[in-house]
Homo-oligomer: 421 residues x 2
């Protein structure tokens, strides 16, 4: 196997075991597993390797000149970052599933790889959408631009929102169910507060713009504040509530955000249930494509890593951001969007007139109103949706609304994602 | 441009104009347009070429040894088939969007290409799903098998069914609307009778099994007989009615069919509206991926052709069936499926008992029943769905049901596609 690429896998956990098993037991042309590194070699694993393969010393392996490709599956920031950077400096290619590292230090890693003409395969860091994004990025050669990417990228949050929708339960109840099923971590913050989605959105943005420059911070909001009431009202209006990552582009200016949103039920994202990922992409001609795929799991992640390895070994194209161009983020206040608004108002005459008057003053046009009979003496459920409105105007109007004497609590605002607007 | 591939486009219609415009006006590394052939060179086109490019003589172009790649965009069977075969024999690669030709004569074309070590790029013949199928086929290197592909592959039929669902109209009314909007041909048979879907299913089957052997005939049923009543009952049961192509595999035995089906509304296919294509693929581990994309149009088709050309010029992998293995089709009678059944029964005591008695006798278990109050003296609307049942048993039971004195017309049978069964 003189022409084979010699591969070391660093990190022998769940995913590592899947990759090692695939490489060791199947005969991929051009791929030769030579080392597997982990700090713990005692733990039982689904695949048994001769001892010559195993090592606890990642430095020795990364500095071994006979190795061509390092598969970094440790996760987290360190020592994973040092593993990747040292491997690149030593002239090796890198394959990884580490989205947190790429989101935080992608600039350093990709710029070094570009400089040294090495390759970083990272399909596995966005398994739920790589088929669509790679396809589109390849289509970039025919000069297509994109208008927007709307994506559900966190299976845990989507599972929790699906459960809340199906059972009418509160967030905390649905979270406990997800934890009991092993679909949420004991500390679920990364998933439910939107950080995981934001990491993937950063990677997608890099890939689709070909720029590895870290973008400025963008708004990130999770699903802890989503209530069964909001889900119920959204349903009456024909929408599901989903945690979405959004990248919009207009004339080279980007709007990027992660937040819960009302999504039309009869759409790819709106009908996505459970722990799946879904991505919708609209190109400059208004052509929309969408992909639904598992966003995690040993099998899809292993497949993605093997594909990267085969592409590196075969000399095939492997998209990797290679430009240092700084992306320009738009002023959020100027964005034109649609909104769902739930007011906490007293049941008094003139409430609707006061609120809608303030909206008219700020040039916000109301699309729909749901006002039900009061459930208690001093509280009337009132929900409105707007037509496209400038975000700054909506914020200004709500500041005034929330100061009204008839309004008892902060108005709940959720963006409406509408493919048609 | 000594290293560029010299390209001739044969067929200068809508798609041809898109491809010629892209090749002529953009600078794709490695691609050089040298000839464009059409029998009619007078018609105005969106792109104007110097006269040296144009020819009416495809034979001269296909026999020109300086040309490397022939893009066949004539469509239909002849002369398109002769163009492709002659190009291959002359040592050229071929790129095409011609699904009808590949479905009918793919065996001849792909076997010749394999023998002569030439390449046939045909992404453009299944633009609505190539990203998903190529991705999966590439994953085939990691030895994944598939269990099933369910796909909506005909935009015209899907548009008509969407209209019937939205407006409650009859097939003929929705067809006329689609024709008025240019979304259905004046002779819509190919689209609405399932032939177009069947062509695409044949190509997908070739691609995913790597076999170019033509499979035996399989059942093809179109949407002419779908009624607003069936759509309404399906809706009450939580399903949409869609025209689907189905490929199922179990232990190397394939079940292939095209027919209308009840699809869960809250699924990728069930929520697909309008002229889009959608494909769901389940692998051997039960991992489901799905893609939604435009199934036709100048832009996506042109992009697919350019991708094929770039892959050929760049020496990248380009999946093409290369085996002569004969696929084994399963015995349809033994397939286990779920069914929707609408009976045309008289409003007499004991009808339900007679029908359900016959079902029990044939080992068919009933999942749901809708019996509404009679709309006229002698007719009672009666709809049933079954649990998984052997197709042969259902056919046998229905032969007996349709002979009952209380049954006035043939029972309407529509398969239920259920991802969970």
């Amino acid at each position: 196997m003189a022409d084979s690429k010699k591969i070391a896998v660093i990190g022998f956990g769940n995913i590592g075991s899947g990759v090692v098993e695939a490489l060791y037991e199947k005969n991929f042309t051009g791929l030769e597993l030579v080392k597997v590194v982990d700090i713990d070699l005692e733990r039982p694993r689904p695949v048994t390797l001769p001892t010559g393969y195993l090592s606890t010393d990642w430095q020795a392996v990364v500095n071994d000149p006979s190795i061509d490709i390092i598969v970094e599956l440790i996760g987290g920031i360190e020592p994973a970052g040092s593993v990747q950077l040292q491997a690149l400096r030593n002239g090796k290619d890198v394959v990884t599933a580490n989205k947190m590292l790429l989101a935080q230090r992608g600039q350093e890693i990709f710029s070094l790889a570009s400089e040294l003409k090495r390759r970083v395969g990272f399909r596995a860091s966005f398994v739920g959408c790589h088929a669509l994004i790679h396809e589109f990025q390849q289509a970039g050669v025919s000069a297509r631009q994109f208008r927007r990417i709307y994506a559900i990228l966190n299976g845990t949050s989507n599972y929790i929102l699906s459960t809340m929708t199906r059972d009418g339960t509160e967030f905390e109840v649905a979270l406990k169910e997800a934890q009991a099923k092993g679909l949420a971590e004991s500390d679920p913050s990364d998933d439910v507060e939107g950080m995981d989605t934001a990491s993937k959105i950063r990677i997608l943005l890099s890939l689709i713009t070909n720029s590895y420059q870290k973008v400025a911070p963008f708004p990130i909001e999770g699903i802890r504040d989503v209530t069964p009431q909001d889900i119920q009202y959204a349903d009456e209006l024909g929408y599901s509530i989903k945690l979405v990552g959004v990248i919009e582009q207009s004339n080279g200016v980007f709007n990027v955000a992660v937040h819960p949103a009302l999504v039309p039920q009869a759409s790819l994202l709106g009908s996505l249930e459970g722990a799946y990922n879904g991505t919708e992409l609209e190109d400059e001609y208004g052509v929309v494509s969408g992909l639904v795929a598992p966003g995690a799991g040993v099998r899809p992640t292993t497949d993605a890593i093997i594909k990267d390895l085969l592409d590196i070994a075969g000399g095939n194209p492997l998209p990797m951001p290679s430009s240092a161009e700084q992306l320009v983020l738009g002023n959020t206040e100027d964005a034109q969007r649609r909104y769902y608004l739930r007011f906490s108002a007293l049941d008094q005459a003139g409430v609707l007139a006061q609120i809608s008057g303030l909206f008219g003053k700020h040039d916000i046009s109301i699309a729909a109103v749901i006002q039900k009979e009061a459930v208690s003496k001093d509280f009337v459920p009132l929900v409105m949706t707007t037509h496209l409105a400038r975000e700054g105007n909506v914020q200004a109007a709500l500041q005034e609304v929330d100061r009204l004497q008839v309004v008892r609590a902060r108005t709940r605002v959720i963006r409406i994602l509408n493919a048609d607007t």
